[in-house]
Each structure stands twice: as structure tokens, then as C-alpha cells.
Symmetry: none
Subunit: 401 residues, 2 copies
């Protein structure tokens, strides 16, 4: 029996409120032997006080040693096994520009490219055209009509675009048309099954028109298709947990991931203060809030240890405002580690802070990786974090008698 | 999705070097309450220094409470689920005498036995004949010809032998002919499927000739067949990890286990110094080295606590020579525990030391079971050890975006 089946069976309704506060890429590494991590160095009096009252632990996003992207990292936090539910690149790209993908949609990541007179690719990124040019070209492509199919073409950034085909019965298993090298023509779209052959035919018809539309737009006189996929069929957050969920995320990617599990995506504004204001205004409308904070990851990716420390301290500063709402359960964690030392996501286990009045105390007195290693939640797969939050909120019945 | 499928997808090539140093049966127990284990008592300044810099943990070879043999223990370390990949006794016996089993081979463990005039077994071990006699009889049996089949007969020790039938399409599911008691004749070989019926026919033909060949060799005037099996179909180490692997093991069994996953088996000599010399000489030829040290297990099996301590100290003494090669990742661990107190393998979790410059520090300052329990790797299934080693070597891409 899967843990989802179990949760569907055991979920209880009550008036409790749960907040999942995700500091993206929270976990870190010391810069030098004998040193401390970003989280350990940051002055976080509010998180430390919650850590002392609550229970700490470390979560493994996918499997030991596996570094997750943002998609698998968040699916894990939301309680979905990231190895069971996979998100295609095209889908993630569409989510990342706030495109609301439906169940009939096939999403495609596009790259504008340059073709020579013989139709061979000479530049796979079309000279990295400016975003404004990409936007204008997408507007032209967006006017292409294919009978029986709704077509959406949206710019992402520079030479990158998203194409969505919407029609019932389309398959998502279509090979890339990007040959991954220059000097050869783009590949013909090929479906791996009957439903995907239908998608491939649509793609072929669309590309034929696109070639005509773009013919005078060199260096961006064509585009390749990659990561073609449908959004995975995912049971909704509300089905599994019985929670009415609101997502408060500034960046489109994380709004998209919340939408993927059918959370209600709220207007988050731009700052932590905006997010807190939204939380306060929506407090009576939802049982569960997912609040996403990006800058612990972006500073880590930049390799800026001091900036990551500062971003953690900024997050700590809004905790009193959040706690003033008196959530029954607060979870503070990350979707993965992003050590400044590595300038990238990593596989290292992720600090978890669980706060609520049913927490069993451990000996931890501050929020940091070394303390979390001694924490009462131990080391556990991230996909069980929501189960633990539900339990602490009194929202799960006993299993069996 | 299995972790092997994931690793095939995520493996990256770089110039890093990984060493897996296996001290067989490393884990132990104190002899008396309040005491320390063999590893904790041993003076291991080099391992302790690596432990202070790296990350410790404990691995579970199969499942909590399950004691592994050498086969499952090593498969786990190599990253293969020991419950998914099972090695028959005949295969293990063949590996143990350095017989290079191919995919068309059926391996059989044989016991010389004594038959009376009516063909009933009177001694299932043929009076435990001397190894020299066993060797001579095997040479006679090795001359038997079966049309369309290559036959190999090799002595193991005393009354034990190995028989291998090599021919395409032979099945390995054949019942033992050893009736497990005296006073009755050996059983007729019976296959459990069509391909194995073919093997059973060959075995029958071979046994008929063997009865004739051995008729004047009482007490060893026949032999029984046990643990009949083919080598399991195992994806190669290089397929899964993209690592070119060299195995440096003195004992045939461990060379055989390395061969089972298609590592390159190198000439290891007889001593740790020989093994280190081989490691140095082969340093540029491989990405990964499996180095096996037997005596921590054999002293444990002997129940000789002091000797096991001494063997651990001897291993510690060669660490500077190994570290002089500056491996990117060094893992020191065992394939299972062999507490001297128990004179046998045990189920107790196995100490793990991971060393490399991306290790997240823990509070551990020496290498021992109690310290490992506080280690940053936590307690984890042994089959994920290689995934962790790959991650620390920068040899895995991010999963998803």
C-alpha cells in the first residue's frame, strides 16, 4: 500500500493551520575544514527559539547521493515520490513562465536557431538573440493556426521559448528535433506511440509554417523542439491530504509546481513582506500554506556565502510576523541543499524544523545542519515530511484498531 | 524507477578517482558490557584523522537483522540490491576457486561420497578425503566427454569439488542430487523447466560416466551435486556507474565477486604492501578501485579479538601510502560485521567512512561504531553507498530541473 493510499484513508478534517516555509536550497557546507555552514553562521534568534521548542531532522529529497532539481525537490516536499512522478523539461519550462498547463496540453521547450540556405543548423542558439527579439518572434509564431488544435507560443528569455499544443488525446512521447550539433538539419518530430504520433504530425505541420514565418528573421530563422511532454497525472494535494492549500510564491516556477498538485496559487507580490501580508489576508481561507523563498538558493548558486547568510537572516526576521498567526504546525525546510562552496544544488540532506505543540523534544537548541543531525526526526525521505506535518496537526486517524 | 536506472541516466565522466577499501567483517562487538569493539580499541591514527575530516555512517547490508554472506555483502557494497540479485552456491563455489564463469555456464558444487554395493550413500563426505586425493579424482573426472558440452571439473578442498557445464541454452534450475541423508541412493537430477531439463540430462549422462570412472576409488566412489545454478544476469559496474573499475583482492572469492559485476581483476600479490604496489602501478588505468582485506573477517571468525584488533591496526598503517595517491573519494567500510564475540558474520550495521572534499562535516573524531552512529551519513542501506561515493566524486548529474 502506497503512503498516498494510506493518507487518503486516514486524513481527518479539523480547524488546524499548517505552514510549509521553504527556503530554497537551504542546506549548505562550510567553506573550510572546521568551519560552519551558512545556516549555522547566520544569526537566527527566531529560528533557534523555534528549534529549541520543536523537533529537528534531515530529509533526503530523492535517494542518498542524488541531487534534485527544483521539480523533484518540491514534489518530495509536497509528499510525492520524485521517482514516481517525473516532470518533463517542457512542462517545467511552461510552469516557469506561469503558463497554466491543462491535462490536454503538450508542452515543448523551444530554442531559436540559425539555418543556412541548405536548411542545416549553423547556430543552435541563434546568436543568443535579445529577449525583446525573441518576444516579437513568438508573437508572430503565436498566430499560426493548426486545425483542431489550440496553439500557444510564449517567450522565455533570449533564444528560449515555450510552445503548447492543446487538443484531446495528444501523447507526450515525442523525440527532440534538436540534433544537439550543428552542420545538420533539425530532426523530424517522431512519436513513440500512436497518441504521440498524432502530436508529432501537429508539430510537423506547425514547423512547416514556422519555417515560412521566420524565413527572413535570421539569425533566428527557425527553432528546435526539446523536452516535449505532458504534465504528469498527479493526484491533487486536496485528494491526498484533505487540505485546502494556498501557495504564496514570488517566482513562476514555484507557482507552477504548486499548480501541478492543484494548490490555489495566490498573488504573492515581490517581497517577503508582501508574502506575509498575503498570508495574513488569506489566513481564514486555507488549511495549508506553502510559502516559497528563493534567495537562499540563488545566493548559493552564485557561490556567495555571505549573501546566503544574509538572506537566511532576512528570512529569520519575518518569523515573528508568521508566528503571530499562531499556526498549529510550522515546517521550515528547503527543497534541497545549495552549498555556496559548490555553486550548485547538491545531494546533502536538508535541514528540517518542525514546530507545533505535539513535537517530541530533542536536545537541539538552534537551527543548523549539525544540530539537525541530532534531531528527533532523524534522517528521513522528504516524501514523508507532509505525513509528519499532518500528524502534528492532528489530521490523521489511527491506522488499524 | 530503480536506483540503477537512475544512475545510468545521471552518471557523468570526469577525471576523479574513487577507492573502496573493504575490510571484510569490519564491524564488531565489545566482549563484555561497558567494553569497546575491535575497531574502537585498535589504535588507528590514520583512520581517525580521515574520520575527523570526512563523514561517518553505518550501512545495513541487506535488511535490519539479516546477516549476509560474502556474496550479498559485496553485492550490496557494489550497489546491487542483494535481494534482487541472488548468487547460487555453485556459482559462489566456482568464484571461490577463481573459475571464470561465463554466461553459458552452469556451476555445480560437488561432494565426493561413499556408495555401498547397492548404490546407497554410506558417507556424504567420503571420509573427508585429503585434498590431494580429491585433486587426483577431479583430474580423472575432468576427462569425461559429453557431446556438445564443455565440461570442467575442479577440486576445491578435501571432499569438495566444482563441476561446470558450458553450452548455450542450459538452464540452472536443477534440484540437488544430494538426498541430505545416508542409507538411500543419490537423487536423479531433475530440471524445473525445459532449459533446466536439458542440464539435468547432461548431468545424468555425466554422473553415469563418473560412477564408472570412480568405481574403484572408495571411499570416494561417487559424488553428489548441490547448489546447481547459473551466474545471475547482472548489469556491469561500468554500465551502471560509467566507472572503469580495477579489483585488487588477494582471495579468489572476492576476485570472483568483482568479476561477477565485470570489474577488471588485477594481480594483487599476497600482502597489503603488494596490493598497495598494484594500486600505485594501476593508478592511471582506472577510475575506481575495489581493494579487499580479508583478515579482519578471518580473525573475527576465529573469535580472536586481539588478532582482529591487530589486523585493523595493520590496515591503518597502509592508509598514508593510499592517501599519497590523493584519491578524490576514499570509502573505508566492511561487507558485514564479524564480531569476534560471535565467531561469525552478523547483522549489525557496518561502519562507513567517506572521505573527500565535498563531505559535510559531522562531530566525529575517530573511526568506530559508536562514532559512526553519530555520523552525518546516518544509517542507510549499503546499496546506496556507491551512489554516495559517485556524488562525492562529482560524477552524478542533477535529477530533473
Amino acid at each position: 500500500m502506497s503512503h498516498h493510499a494510506l493518507l487518503r484513508e486516514l486524513q481527518l478534517k479539523n480547524s488546524s493551520k499548517i505552514i510549509l516555509l521553504v527556503a530554497d536550497g537551504l542546506g549548505g557546507l562550510p567553506l573550510a575544514p572546521g568551519g560552519k555552514t551558512e545556516l549555522e553562521i547566520a544569526r537566527t534568534p527566531n529560528l533557534d527559539s523555534l528549534a529549541a521548542q520543536g523537533t529537528l531532522g534531515l530529509s533526503t529529497p530523492v535517494l542518498p547521493g542524488i541531487t534534485p532539481g527544483s521539480g523533484p525537490g518540491h514534489l518530495g516536499l509536497f509528499g510525492y515520490d520524485p521517482l514516481e512522478f517525473r516532470i518533463g523539461r517542457g512542462v517545467l519550462e511552461a510552469l516557469g513562465i506561469d503558463f497554466d498547463l491543462g491535462p490536454d496540453d503538450v508542452a515543448i521547450r523551444g530554442n531559436f536557431c540559425t539555418l543556412d540556405a541548405e536548411g542545416r543548423i549553423t547556430d543552435r542558439r541563434a546568436g543568443r538573440i535579445a529577449s525583446e527579439i525573441g518576444k516579437t518572434l513568438c508573437e508572430k509564431l503565436d498566430k499560426i493556426k493548426i486545425p483542431g488544435v489550440e496553439v500557444f507560443v510564449r517567450p522565455v528569455k533570449e533564444y528560449r521559448l515555450v510552445v503548447v499544443f492543446r487538443a484531446p488525446g495528444l501523447g507526450g512521447a515525442v523525440h527532440d528535433t534538436d540534433p544537439q550539433k550543428t552542420g545538420v538539419p533539425p530532426l523530424d518530430p517522431q512519436g513513440r506511440d500512436a497518441a504521440s504520433q498524432k502530436t508529432a504530425e501537429i508539430a510537423r505541420a506547425f514547423l512547416a509554417q514556422a519555417r515560412e514565418v521566420l524565413k527572413n528573421d535570421a539569425p533566428a530563422n527557425f527553432f528546435t523542439m526539446r523536452g516535449i511532454d505532458k504534465r504528469p497525472s498527479i493526484p491533487t494535494f486536496e485528494e491526498i491530504y484533505g487540505l485546502k492549500a494556498g501557495a504564496i510564491a514570488v517566482y513562476p516556477m514555484y507557482r507552477g509546481l504548486a499548480r501541478l498538485v492543484s494548490m490555489n496559487v495566490l498573488d504573492a507580490g515581490l517581497t517577503l513582506d508582501d508574502q506575509c501580508a498575503r498570508l495574513e489576508q488569506s489566513w481564514n481561507d486555507f488549511d495549508f500554506f506553502f510559502m516559497h523563498y528563493k534567495y537562499t538558493d540563488s545566493t548559493g548558486e552564485d557561490g556567495n556565502f555571505a549573501a546566503k547568510v544574509e538572506r537566511i537572516e532576512q528570512l529569520d526576521a519575518v518569523l515573528p510576523r508568521i508566528m503571530a498567526l499562531r499556526p498549529d504546525v510550522l515546517v521550515v525546510t528547503g527543497d534541497h541543499s545549495t552549498p555556496s562552496k559548490m555553486k550548485s544544488h547538491s545531494w546533502h540532506p536538508v535541514p528540517v524544523l518542525m514546530h507545533g505543540n505535539l513535537c517530541r523534544p530533542d536536545a537541539c537548541t538552534s537551527f543548523g545542519e549539525a544540530q539537525c543531525l541530532q534531531g528527533g526526526l532523524g534522517q528521513f525521505p522528504a516524501k514523508y515530511l507532509m505525513t509528519l506535518a499532518m500528524a502534528h496537526a492532528g489530521r490523521l486517524e489511527k491506522y488499524g484498531a
